[in-house]
Symmetry: C2
Subunit: 474 residues, 2 copies
Amino acid sequence: MAREITKRSEDYAQWYIDVVLKGDMADYSPVKGCMVIKPNGFGIWENIQRSLDRLFKETGHTNAYFPLFIPESFLTKEAEHVEGFAPECAVVTHAGGKELEERLVVRPTSETIIWAKYRDWISSYRDLPILINQWANVCRWEMRTRLFLRTTEFLWQEGHTAHATHEDAEEEAYRMVHVYRQFAEEYMAMPVIVGRKTQLEKFAGALHTYCIEAMMQDGRALQSGTSHHLGQNFAKAFDVKFQDRDKELKYVHATSWGVSTRLIGGMIMSHSDDNGMVVPPRLAPLPVVLVPIWRSEEEQERVLGKAREITRDWDPLFYKIDDRDQYKPGFKFNYWEVRGVPLRIELGPRDCDNNQVVAVRRDTGEKNILGMDNLRESVQKLLDEIQQDMFNAAKRRMDESTHTLDDYEEFKQRADRGGFFRVHWCGDEACERQFQEDTKSTIRCIPFDGEDEAGQCIVCGKPSERRVVVAQGY
Amino acid sequence: MAREITKRSEDYAQWYIDVVLKGDMADYSPVKGCMVIKPNGFGIWENIQRSLDRLFKETGHTNAYFPLFIPESFLTKEAEHVEGFAPECAVVTHAGGKELEERLVVRPTSETIIWAKYRDWISSYRDLPILINQWANVCRWEMRTRLFLRTTEFLWQEGHTAHATHEDAEEEAYRMVHVYRQFAEEYMAMPVIVGRKTQLEKFAGALHTYCIEAMMQDGRALQSGTSHHLGQNFAKAFDVKFQDRDKELKYVHATSWGVSTRLIGGMIMSHSDDNGMVVPPRLAPLPVVLVPIWRSEEEQERVLGKAREITRDWDPLFYKIDDRDQYKPGFKFNYWEVRGVPLRIELGPRDCDNNQVVAVRRDTGEKNILGMDNLRESVQKLLDEIQQDMFNAAKRRMDESTHTLDDYEEFKQRADRGGFFRVHWCGDEACERQFQEDTKSTIRCIPFDGEDEAGQCIVCGKPSERRVVVAQGY
């Protein structure tokens, strides 16, 4: 350990970088803007994929794969879309030793290539709905890298669905943002606010965008997942029509929705502490590490034997026995702590005598004595507790840092200190831009949980019907 | 079904295309050389990933992710490597609205970018071995597309390991080609020959390459997986040294190994028939489809109710009840047959009376009457039988089409008709090139199972110590 982790209270941004690098989560790459995801980070992405994928399939979706390259002309077919993405694209001009006739864009998102294909696949209402998801890498050019949070290439999933009616598409877009909420809360232990983006903040080409917004430990917001109702915009751009039951030809309705490796950044900033990574058990690549403690060769043989005996029936991917003999227990404790393993089991000669182990929680540091009988069950119970307690802690923090405010001067003073502010807004884009300029905050969403409440826009004083959530964001 | 599937005996190449397209496996893309993998095809890839990944993890590997883009200069650092790959590369010259200072290559394989990083990660023998795998898309420019078999972009996994000694690297390269063999045989039901490539056929930059070779139904060979011992070539190119236990600085030894979506093409050509796809149960996205049969609304209610009752505790991703009422049973039988679902369960009113179902095997068409009690178990038993029988059938076919030959004229006459030929070869590249010219065949491998046997090179008559496997390939 060449350098300690910077404390959150000293320099939050540096703390984040330290946690990521020391936790073996990711590394910088020789290519500007790109990152390397190291095994401890990628293991979390694998668990995110596995869990989310199951939720997608249970809601009727299947996976497919579309090409990485998109003809440049496709991008220009939907007007808002090209404006939003063209400036960020990487362009292939040469391939196979020749200059290409048409330049190819490395996908920044796949609506255009997918809708070009849906045109071939859809002709009747019988072909609908199409409920397809894709796990893929995408590319949006970035000048400065923030590991996981902002990189030129990132990994994500993008759902692309096609429907016969506006209502069906609306139901899908709404359903999927709630799948994201469920995933964030139940797997990532990360509470979120669910709502709708303003027109200024919506996806380029959507009718409207739903989102989940999480609060990081510094009080700033992280957009963690979005679900777009695209209306008939892409169907019109790519001329995708179907014959309905009434024999009429109609344009297809669309949604798209996605989450990315950015979630890992959100997970880190939700839970990790000044000692490094803290990973929720349900996403941990390694839920349990067992550190045997010995002072003599005889003891070593005894505790190692016991360690293997009590874990004999466990899934080998669920735990690891750290039997390295060139390192002392203290080094090993620290090694796994900084990497965020949720539960450390210590086993020494005395523990063997007493038919017990010591289980130390990563999230709280609390020590638990567990009997060796039914150990797998008591370990699972403890992991479930950790998962729930991590969610509760994050929820408490979010609630404590969410403020209802009606005075613009007060808001301007407080915005910089972080937190979510529930304020009245008249719906006017001018006021929205005013927030941004004065406080570097944005409207994160018009929350679904907000109640109708008559009030006055915090900027201009005009009437408002409900509060929006405003915060500084990542 | 606008068009039938061409028979294998009429036009094997067209049969393959028909099976892929009708089986909803894949589709052509608007970008030349690229393909779209449709849900039924991608579901197989997901199962390949899941099963292989488990085998990788059980042998100590973890996954990571490295950037899609490689600085063009990296590729040139290993002489053989650049010669092998540079002509096939797609090149990004513009990004973020500007021309790039250094052109970026879309990875054709990741040795160079990974070894540039390993340089940062390796300094001591304690850092070794590194056992990393990556699941990724790669790009090698192709002018003509053959779905799954040859596409510009394809999906694969690439293992990249770093070791302290030549022996460790050799052991790893050898271990992984056997993991591939196990996977091909146990999961894909596809028997393979395991061996070593000749120097002419090895990977660009390797000391030597191990491979598995499968036989397609037309008797041609498909290289299905390769494992390369890279020696110190990449360590030298990227200056990756470690301090060994003896305090000396040494170059690191490397392996890399990969399989790709090409495996799906191999699976199709190993098992499918004139009625379409046949998928081995262990890789089937949908192992079982249940088709209820009714003639009246009353019957419909009864059989659907029974269908749901007998599958109540089954994993929803394991089966589907085809309850579409706009289609007749015959249409549904055909619909699932062409897509390769291993087992179809038919359930009509009479079956309900008799407390039984009819289970129809996709591979043989054989009908089995199964009692409704313990149905899940008897279905699993049948699926296991199908898996084993499919392997046996493919193995028998491979054995029957493998010939031991000593006469070059005979070989020249027979090569075109397909099959594997075990012939003596002196080891001389001139003779190897002669085969290729005369018969369009290549040495697929020097098989591990070959016994020492004195003989004479089939081309030049010089002494040979063992037979090699020669065949026309894909």
